[in-house]
Symmetry: D2
């Protein structure tokens, strides 16, 4: 198998490290560029000792990188810093494909982006090229894309079960409550008080209530599924753990469906999928059962409230919620078998 | 101050230990009876080394205990084993008051009890005497009670904000979704696989979806507030932490109210209360801020879904959700200042 | 009881918060000054929501504070910033006593301070007044002190068992290995990568091996006990928890003693002490059994290596290892019963 | 590559699950027998949902299994139950090789086994065939073995650095103190109070002080290295985490060596090894950097005590400390490249 030459921009964050962990088991990937501006000149093991066994190129600065050497570039930079870099990569190296793990190209409407992210979009001319990389939903578009906007972790977890249910008309699109719970690695490696161990462990709380930036991203996806604008309740909570997202979705049934019909709808959609499993009736999906893996577990429960059902969905926020799905998208974009490098099962306990 | 002579049945569980921890700071309580059948003859520090500094009577068996020596008996036995014991205490010792921390007397309708707990009520003749001990709501009844059924942890956390909102008519009683999250100490100290450290830490999941026994207890309280039968969605989740409950309640507005009106309703109700604090607008209550204390923090947020609001409420499940509220109820029953022995603030971090 | 007027400098760190938590149960303390430069003008509950129930003065800047209003000032500032502030307090307000929780006055030799802390001592003229506040060892000196240097958390935990054993001649002073393990709150609330939840949880490691600043502090105490200079192995490890220190001390027996003799030595010393408990033979002291309390548990085990024994000791690093011992010292300095405000037992689970 | 037919006895424990997780990435392994007496007739995903994506044979009872179908049998049963089963396998199926993950064949002297495990050895005639499976030390013997006794987790972690140091004569064999710290998964999945989440999290303690069964196993290995009987101090501590062991070894220098010489000795031994890395001077190995991987990190530090040094070593107790090393041994026994199926790097965070 000819190797895909891979570059990673922003290798010193958790999603960068996770790309390296996963790609080290990918038989067709060869990492040729690795940037981390603040650590340029160092080896990755000085930043991430858990990667010591890997033989990787030295960390460089973005501006020193030669994109022509890369078939694929993963961009794991913070949002807001990414648009200009990607515009440059796409411009300079016509044969390079880009997968952006930041939020910078996820929202199709640059005005919505500006509203939620508090700054103007810096590459609006490129935005139309970006394909939203929720693999199981938009696989065909991804296959032909040059720029994939890799979805957020919360949004992946919630949209995967909700989109098929909306498309099938078995739930109301206008009365969806998403109570989401995430491990702290979703907040990244920045030095912030609110993610210190002493502040996070042995306690829980909701945050960004009614104003989290993943709300418009979920709404974009559900609106596309519904064929009309949809608003959702999305309430994230910070969990005292590192990895994992659970989306507990409270939905109103439609079209005469019941919980069993929802489960069948999801099974019809996902039985052919390698990474999305619909759990048996009565089983509650647990984040620990997908930890470190690219799998999604989703299940449906009856609600005691008449006319309602409960849809549960779990992912590892750093894998299917970020780096794993990015690799899945690369496989799709390059015509490689989609599960390549992603067949690790969860690490438990 | 003349000392209240206190007995504790079932001192070897977490709620029993918590009663001892809290009562050790209660200036008017003198512990005279302490039972733990499996540990009879031992000292409590052999069961709970963290209580080593306390000078307490030896653990005895229930049948050896003399209830006449107790002004108040706390019953911290598992549900199902409690009804007959309490019937006996009440019968044998006419001057003794009883506070039951189990679920055995919480449901006024013994048929509902039988349905949810899978066994017939063993003291139906006593059930009518039992006063439901949600202190801030039923204080007057508690003051005159001989038998108080201390509420469950989830139910305390959810009912305290929801009851005043229903009573004020500012939310719909028929469309309440309670996504609740609890630390693992709520499951007690029994030797069960599902609460092992390796099974609980670094992961989350929902459990007993649609069938948790606290659902009928919440419904009983909300029905009383609404003046008609109410059903709720109550979905509990197990958190990788020991203490704390967060109830995220998704409610439909009624009577033209908005989130601000809900907050005002709660402030009107609770501003005079020592243990229930309505947090300022924009503040998200965190379980770690009540850890080890009898406080409840509750807040209201606007929902992006029109016509809805989000009500958040946190407690320590072992304190306000169990032993702390039991002591609060004792204070009320005996005419002692209600905050006596309960003024510890939270332990953080 | 006439109230002691208390000031706290640096109330926005964990030891400051812990002083407030504990003093809120101290019947003789009245907090009149509370500084936190970066939060001046705020209320403490904006910094520490878990203290919301307390009625405390507004946070001010240090330079705005009037020390004459304080009988006692606790200084909970970072080391290096403290010497000049305390010099000023002692100078301006002759009747004020000071308890310094930083490391700034712990090392009697200012050259040793300069060597280990990398800067010159800024108040060498005051250093001789400072009494090292290891209460059970130096109680008499503390009673007459105007300035108490409150010991470090590791050093308290290790010295309390080791000093009596050295003084009694039952262990060799020159072959002591202290493998110490601490919760992360000992590192404070600063925004540092190495104490993020994702970096600390689910993992352990040693740090500052052979060069931790508590080594010279321990050596100072053990040297005083031995009557000659003593060097120790002190190897700290970071634990994935918030509170608690365990010092596992590996000692060589002397003077024909065995493990039982060590236990007896410790019992002779500590049986009269309210806060230091020698656990029974075969019991291993656990940090969770002192969490949130001022207690110390210590025990002695036989070693399979001939001529050796194992001494274990646990504290809560924020209580007996910092704020609790500081209050204990205040009680001693002011002639108040030493246990006042410190009788809380541990919070478990 | 022709597939190795693998059987796993005792698949329902953590080491059994870990064998399955790792073998699922082993290109030459085909799992044909899977036993779990209490779960016979079930699929593994009912016991371990994190393995749901694997296609595995149904769980059976041991007595129903046909060993002739297996080239290799892993035995992951509790100690004491294993000897007779393995005797039967070896007897019935002459071409089958066995790797035992229990302690039953680790101690060469059956009297030592009887002393420490409290029961007579049930297959003393087979014990002489057992090769102790510390791969990097006994690789040649393992290559020719039919029965490998896979080492314990603590013992692997401690012996790997200590054996070469003793063999090189750079440390004294008679003054070794091993302060070891383990995650709770080492205690298995049994329903025991002392490993409940509420009992383990937010606290640490030593256990089995002076009497842990891994002490004689370590002493056996160090005695072999020293050429004479050696006794060690081995003091295990329970950590509030799931995976990982850190052995902090306090050693006395010999033969004029210093810490640097120890580091060189380890590098000389391990530089050719794929799984054992000697970390650079000043780096402290962390368990999180080997989590989920078969790697060992070890480092050497100077001690402030003259004539001493500190040797640190970390593993994942379920991988290099159990199932990973078992697979490594299988590779050696079958002449497969030793790293096959074991090249996953650590999962962090």
């Amino acid at each position: 198998m000819e190797k895909v030459r891979v570059g990673i921009l922003g290798a010193s964050g958790y999603t960068g490290a996770e790309l390296l962990r996963l790609l080290s088991l990918h038989p067709a990937a060869d990492i040729v560029v690795l940037t981390a501006d603040r650590h340029a000149g160092q080896l990755i093991q000085e930043v991430f000792p858990h990667l010591s066994a890997l033989d990787l190129p030295e960390l460089t600065r973005i501006e020193e990188s030669d994109w022509h050497t890369c078939d694929v570039v993963y961009c794991a930079l913070p949002h807001g810093t990414t648009q200009e870099v990607i515009a440059q990569v796409l411009d300079e190296s016509p044969d390079t494909k880009v997968i952006d793990l930041s939020a910078d190209f996820r929202l199709a409407d640059v005005n919505v982006y500006a509203h939620w992210y508090g700054q103007e979009h810096k590459a609006p001319e490129i935005q139309p090229q970006a394909v939203y990389g929720l693999t199981e939903i938009y696989r065909e578009d991804i296959a032909g894309a040059r720029l994939v906007a890799n979805p957020g972790c919360y949004t992946t977890t919630a949209q995967l079960p909700l989109i098929p249910l909306i498309e099938a008309g078995v739930i109301e699109a206008d009365d969806i409550i998403i109570d989401a719970k995430s491990g702290v690695s979703g907040a990244g490696r920045a030095e912030k008080r609110n993610i210190l161990h002493a502040e996070v462990s042995e306690g829980i709380h909701a945050y960004s209530v009614g104003e989290h930036r993943h709300a418009p991203e979920i709404e974009q996806g559900l609106s596309r599924a519904a064929g009309r604008p949809v608003t959702v309740n999305f309430t994230p909570h910070l969990m005292p753990m590192n990895r994992g997202i659970l989306a507990s979705c409270y939905v109103r049934l439609a079209g005469g469906a019941d919980a069993a019909a929802l489960r069948e709808t999801l099974k019809d959609k996902y039985d052919v999928e390698p990474f999305v499993h619909v759990v048996p009736q009565g089983v509650s999906p647990a984040t620990r059962d997908v930890r470190g893996s690219n799998y999604v577990l989703t299940g449906v429960f009856e609600d005691r409230l008449p006319g309602r059902a409960i849809v549960l969905s779990v992912t590892d926020n750093l894998v299917k919620g970020a780096s794993g799905q990015a690799i899945q998208n690369m496989n799709v974009m390059l015509g490689i078998d989609e599960t390549t490098g992603l067949s690790q099962v969860a690490l438990f306990p």
